[in-house]
């Protein structure tokens, strides 16, 4: 039976520590393709922005409910609807762009960390190969 190799234990400990800590997130992110990961999170961000917009709009309508009830018959509903949709598109669009930038950076960060991990994996594989020949 082979003896315990100190260098191999050190390498495997570092790798296990990576898997336990920052690597957990990096490995989870890199399970996706870049485009899938970024798109999924942009969609989630737009859903968040939509709920937030609805909440803010709800607060605004409830706050101004008396005036709105008075003006409802004289109000240009088409123009109001257009303004509302434009505001929503700008709000969700800006939020989507921010999410795109944030998650693109996050994917690149994870990929970089995972590259180091893959390098360690190759080194471990080489060690094992040498060990099996001895």
């Amino acid at each position: 039976m082979s003896r315990v190799d100190g260098d191999k234990v050190k390498l495997m400990t570092r790798m296990a520590s990576f898997e336990e800590n920052e690597g957990r997130e990096a490995i989870r992110i890199c399970n996706y393709f870049r485009s899938d990961y970024v798109t999924l999170n942009v969609v989630k961000a737009i859903v968040s922005a939509t709920i937030s917009f609805a909440l803010i709009l709800g607060l605004y309508i409830y706050y101004n409910i008396d005036n709105m009830m008075q003006d409802i018959y004289t109000m240009d509903l088409l123009e109001t609807g257009r303004k509302l949709i434009t505001s929503y598109v700008i709000f969700a669009g800006v939020f989507g762009i921010i999410a795109y930038v944030v998650y693109s950076f996050r994917y690149d960060w994870a990929k970089k960390h995972l590259n180091d991990y893959n390098y360690a994996l190759r080194e471990l594989s080489n060690m094992q190969e040498i060990e099996s020949h001895e």
Partner: protein, 310 residues
């Protein structure tokens, strides 16, 4: 100065050894203080305002991840507001939801800033937060500290206006809602603090990153001075009630606290003891990796080294 380094080394060694226990105790303490403050400031739901419940929830928080503390603090706040008035609870829920949906889903780790900023206001040391988060975080922490200030002023307004809200029993729901929302949003003191704190975080963070000697100390001093000037200017411009004497005294205490943090927290690597397990073809490994402590005390021992004698 050497004694300070000795103390720092000892703390580093102690934290490294009992890391799990210390983090659990800190979570328990933070939850206990946060929930007690919420109960103290609001406390309208009698069933929640009990030491037994606070202790039980704090104990639960000690065992769970740190993010749970803010969840329970938010739940306590909403329930107390609900006991006072449905409209107040509705506004607080919307404020918390907007914070979560628009910002904290991106940076869940920064929720601690929202937890600590209101506490710093309660303990009359709010100026500490932007400086500490400028040193610790990124420029984006400006938003976290800003949201923390919004959370504090929202709770503070409801706490101060509780009698007025109760007295509005004759008013319609919409009128109560409008009065509370006006009080929460049209608060110039809150606006002044949010703007000043956001700028302070960015200033401290930018200077801290510059590569010159004592950049951290310069960042702390610049941040404190910028915060003071901004708050004074905004206090005049927005006609707010910022206490100038308190601001100056608080800024001096902030300097001391920030320097202590710089020495004992940020410049020390409290590397964690790692316990990992893995296997290969021949063995199962249960490894406890203990970080090497680079002690200043040990480095100062002037034992003769082999190459010194040549």
């Amino acid at each position: 100065m050497n004694n300070i380094y000795d103390v720092r080394d000892n703390i580093e060694e102690f934290v490294s050894r009992y890391e799990t226990l210390i983090m659990g105790a800190l979570r328990f303490f933070l939850a206990l203080v946060s929930l007690s403050v919420v109960n103290g400031k609001l406390g309208y739901m009698e069933r929640l305002d009990s030491t037994g419940i606070v202790l039980a929830v704090s104990l639960l928080c000690a065992l769970l991840p740190a993010g749970v503390i803010i969840f329970f603090s938010a739940v306590f706040t909403v329930l107390h507001c609900y006991a006072l008035s449905l409209e107040a609870a509705l506004i607080v829920i919307v404020v918390f939801l907007l914070m979560f949906l628009l910002y904290f889903r991106f940076t869940p780790k920064d929720t601690l800033a929202v937890q600590l900023t209101p506490l710093s206001f309660v303990f009359r040391l709010p100026y500490v937060m932007p400086v500490i988060y400028g040193l610790k975080g990124s420029p984006l922490s400006a938003l976290s500290v800003g949201f923390g200030a919004v959370a504090y002023f929202t709770i503070d307004y409801i706490s101060d206006s509780a009698d007025m809200i109760r007295g509005m029993s004759e008013a319609t729901t919409v009128e109560r809602f409008r009065t509370i929302l006006d009080g929460v949003l049209k608060n110039n003191t809150m606006v002044a603090y949010v703007i000043a704190f956001a700028f302070t975080v960015v200033i401290v963070n930018i200077i801290k990153r510059l590569s010159f000697k004592n950049s951290w100390t310069v960042a702390i001093v610049s941040g404190i001075v910028a915060d003071m000037i901004l708050l004074m200017l905004l206090s005049v411009r927005l006609d707010t009630d910022v206490n100038i004497a308190g601001l100056i005294l608080g800024s001096m205490i902030t300097f001391l606290i920030a320097m202590v943090f710089k020495l004992f927290v940020f410049s020390v690597d409290y590397a964690k003891t790692e316990r990992v397990q893995f296997e290969d073809d021949g063995y199962y490994y249960y490894v406890k990796a203990v970080p090497k402590i680079k002690s200043h005390r040990k480095r100062r021992v002037s034992a003769p080294r082999p190459w010194d004698e040549e």
